[in-house]
Symmetry: C2
Subunit: 498 residues, 2 copies
């Protein structure tokens, strides 16, 4: 049994009265007494711009209902795999985020220095997770985290790309035998994309060690590995010729070195490609590449046992943008089906991504102790855009509320009767609404049921009150039956059984 | 049927390669090539402070599981009352928040000017809701919104007071007959606090119009109404004498005027007090006070029909800190029970609050059109602190995962068997885990079940594989039974039925 905790003196959240730590107020706004807006006559005068910040949006009820459904499916999968949920602050110390994102770091939102610590908005959920592990000295954890992250990127809102967006992350931290957690991450991506019935998809897999091995055997100095990754990463958008000319023109590679890289990074396949590269005379001499290829082979063995290799492609052009990856990397893309034409196509590419980052936690640990990690991020915003577009195309409507019964009255002076009846229904756990008018017209009340998709109306008039009954109306069929008041709750439950 | 939307060219979220809009980078950090941290030998060198920003915290799995349970109860109530969910950005234009919070505005987190719009973090969910209504020209809506808000307040983390905290808001917007939506808001607070079994509570109710009427009949000029509210608002923490001396000493009231205010604001009661004040020779002459008292009487009538007046107190000392309230205001407090002693008491006062704000939407509307609103905010963080404290005191443990079965093996060389079996279980929707080791010891696997509260273990060894069975172990009783493989899923489901 839970016991009541005695309460101390009541404490209010908000300080009242003049603030002792008032400071120069930076906003150029003419404040009235007490800091309130000066009264304006007849609605004239300056008013704030009516918008959300660039690249952000409100989610109206239909959005939110659809998104909640989508997130519930993702969470169900994460829980099926035994993950616990954590939450971390939207704000992080700037120094926590520093040096983790390479060139992308310029997209981090910084907070103004208002005295005290220098803060920024989180850029992803991975760096906060690594900080959390190091701070709490956790060396072993399987967690999911669904929350908003912030990037001062150029928004492309029609493609589901925003400055504030949800990430859905699942990560496994700990020192384990190779590729077992990595294989589970890919299994999860496979399950989620299958569950959501988004159509055909492909999960591309590669390994940073293989890429670095390729660069090494092509004679690229280590200092250029990251910028080479950036070039290779563009191969999903532009043809090899363009990437090649960037390598030679902008990045100073010899045409021979570039061509050599090109021979490798345009390859993709399955187990047979791994075997082939393991026999490659140059690559097999490189320690990193050999490690990566060996693990890739193991990964494919495990994925075969999971029965999902049909949707996995070992793709040497996959590089991923973020710096912190150290091993396996992956990215899931939806495949366009040839016979499918919809008027306004939504361009979404990658719908999930992730990889192994064995060095990130060590960057936070005071003694540099490493905690190997591998994780995935589900691109929920893009998936949402696809589902939303489909709903629009199909004309399907989402109910935004779950109300089961509208409590209605057929004539005037019955507000008290409605308040009493609705209170009974709420007490029995029935989802019920009434119109907030003293004397609403019956037609208006029934119209509200139709607009909102409420299946039942419970109608009480003088006659019903006298007879001790309630008229229960099926909104779709318009059929009405008198139900004894004491049996109303049971009858409503019976009607709403699935 | 949903149809697949054809995809255009793959688009990556993150720009790769040198940024075209690179800008002077403000962080004083020695970056290596590509913006990454320079490599450090043997873990030496500078490392970031391992902490979350002041006044914020991480929520580990046990917190998050408890909080999710708490939020589910609150959401169930909001849905029972027919509310739809919306979501708005954490970021708002600074001008959206300006002039809405009075003296508290100095607690708003501002973002650095990084070019583009000037932004701030939302301070509550009410102002964004009003902005949302005005922006979308919505004049009628019942919504809930559960999300984090940000206040640069002095944190008091032991009392559940943070700089980043959840708000759970329910609001009704629209032009309706008086006090019907207001009464529903109080009903919701009553239902939630009862459902959560937090112990005895009291909901204090007052009206800004009554307070302003009192100030007027005591001869206070209108310009001092807000600062008077701030003084009165302290009466839940300090005795009247202190408030009186602040009014006379700091705020320049005559002792007579202060005493006169004191006679009113120390009153509290029910319907009989409302009747008494309606007869008060001075107050009954004041238009505002009369309106407020008339509505308060109506409110009590409706609350009587809901059967909840036993926990409602008309309390003239209730003033509320925020500027935007225009009518009814309320606040729920938990009552300390005399016979209840726990070693470390948690001091929480107010656990819910709210009121009517009929002018806020009009501050955003280009033509100043008003949309009357009334709403409540459930103090989920404080309630969480109480529940957490109770769990600690009782020694009760929350399960942080929902795993039903651990797939285990009794000896070596059986990783493939585990991977195949767990894949079958996941496919059937069973929540299953396995250890990420090639050859884990059986004892370690069973220990993991006990540590994590996993009720079942499905064990496959060479003998079981030969016999086509799986050994199903009840972790609590240690009883093991061989189940034919094809019947395993059904047997697990049967055992886990509630």
């Amino acid at each position: 049994m839970l016991r009541l905790v005695p309460l101390g003196a009541a404490v209010r959240q908000l300080p009242a009265g003049p603030a002792s730590r008032a400071r120069a107020w930076a906003w150029a706004w003419p404040l009235g007494p007490g800091g309130v807006l000066p009264r304006r006559a007849g609605g004239s005068g300056w008013r704030p711009a009516l918008k959300t910040p660039k690249g952000t949006r409100d989610h109206p009820p239909a959005h939110t209902a659809l998104r909640d459904r989508l997130l519930a499916a993702v969470v169900a999968c994460f829980k099926r795999h035994g993950a616990a949920a954590i939450d971390t602050p939207v704000l992080e110390l700037r120094e926590t985020l520093m040096g983790k994102y390479g060139e992308e770091a310029k997209l981090i939102y910084e907070l103004q220095d208002q005295g005290g610590e220098l803060l920024a908005l989180r850029y992803d959920l991975t760096v906060p997770f690594a900080r959390y592990l190091a701070m709490n000295k956790i060396t072993n954890m399987k967690r999911y985290h669904i929350a908003k992250v912030y990037r001062r990127d150029n928004p492309a809102t029609t493609r589901g790309r925003y400055r504030e967006f949800y990430q859905c992350d699942f990560d496994i931290a700990g020192q384990f035998d190779p590729m077992i957690p990595d294989a589970e991450c890919l299994k999860i991506v496979h399950e989620i994309l299958s569950d959501l019935q988004l159509g055909d998809f492909l999960i591309k897999v590669n390994d940073r060690r293989i890429l670095n091995g390729i660069f090494a055997v092509c004679g690229i100095p280590e200092s250029k590995f990251i910028t080479m990754c950036c070039s290779v990463d563009k191969l999903d958008k532009v043809p090899w010729e363009e990437v090649r000319s960037e390598m030679v023109g902008e990045k100073g590679l010899s045409p021979e070195a570039a061509d050599h890289i090109g021979e490798y990074v345009q390859l993709h396949g399955g187990l047979e490609l791994i075997e082939q590269l393991l026999q490659d005379p140059k690559l097999s001499q490189n320690k990193l590449a050999k490690e990566g290829l060996g693990d890739m082979k193991l990964l494919f063995e495990y994925l075969t046992l999971f029965g999902i290799t049909g949707k996995i492609s070992f793709d040497l052009s996959l590089a991923r943008g973020l710096d912190y990856y150290t091993g396996v990397i992956f990215e899931a893309v939806l495949l366009q089906q040839e016979n499918d034409h919809v008027e306004e196509p939504v361009s979404v590419g990658s719908v999930a991504g992730g990889g192994r980052y064995d060095g990130l936690v060590g960057m936070f640990d005071p003694k540099g102790r490493k905690v190997p990690c591998v994780g995935i991020s589900i691109g929920i915003e893009r998936i949402f855009s696809i589902l939303e577009q489909r709903m629009k195309a199909s004309g399907e409507k989402v109910r935004t509320t779950e109300t089961q019964v509208l409590v209605a009255t057929p004539h005037k002076h019955l507000l008290a009767a409605r308040l009493k009846l609705i209170s009974e229904l709420w007490g029995a756990g029935i989802k019920a609404e009434m119109l907030y008018k003293k004397d609403p017209k019956l037609l208006k009340q029934l119209q509200y049921c139709e607009d909102m998709g409420i299946p039942l109306a419970a109608i009480v008039g003088d006659q019903e009150l006298t007879d001790g009954v309630v008229k229960l109306r099926d909104v779709a069929t318009r059929k009405e039956v008198d139900i004894p008041r004491e049996k109303l709750v049971d009858e409503i439950r019976r009607r709403l059984e699935p």
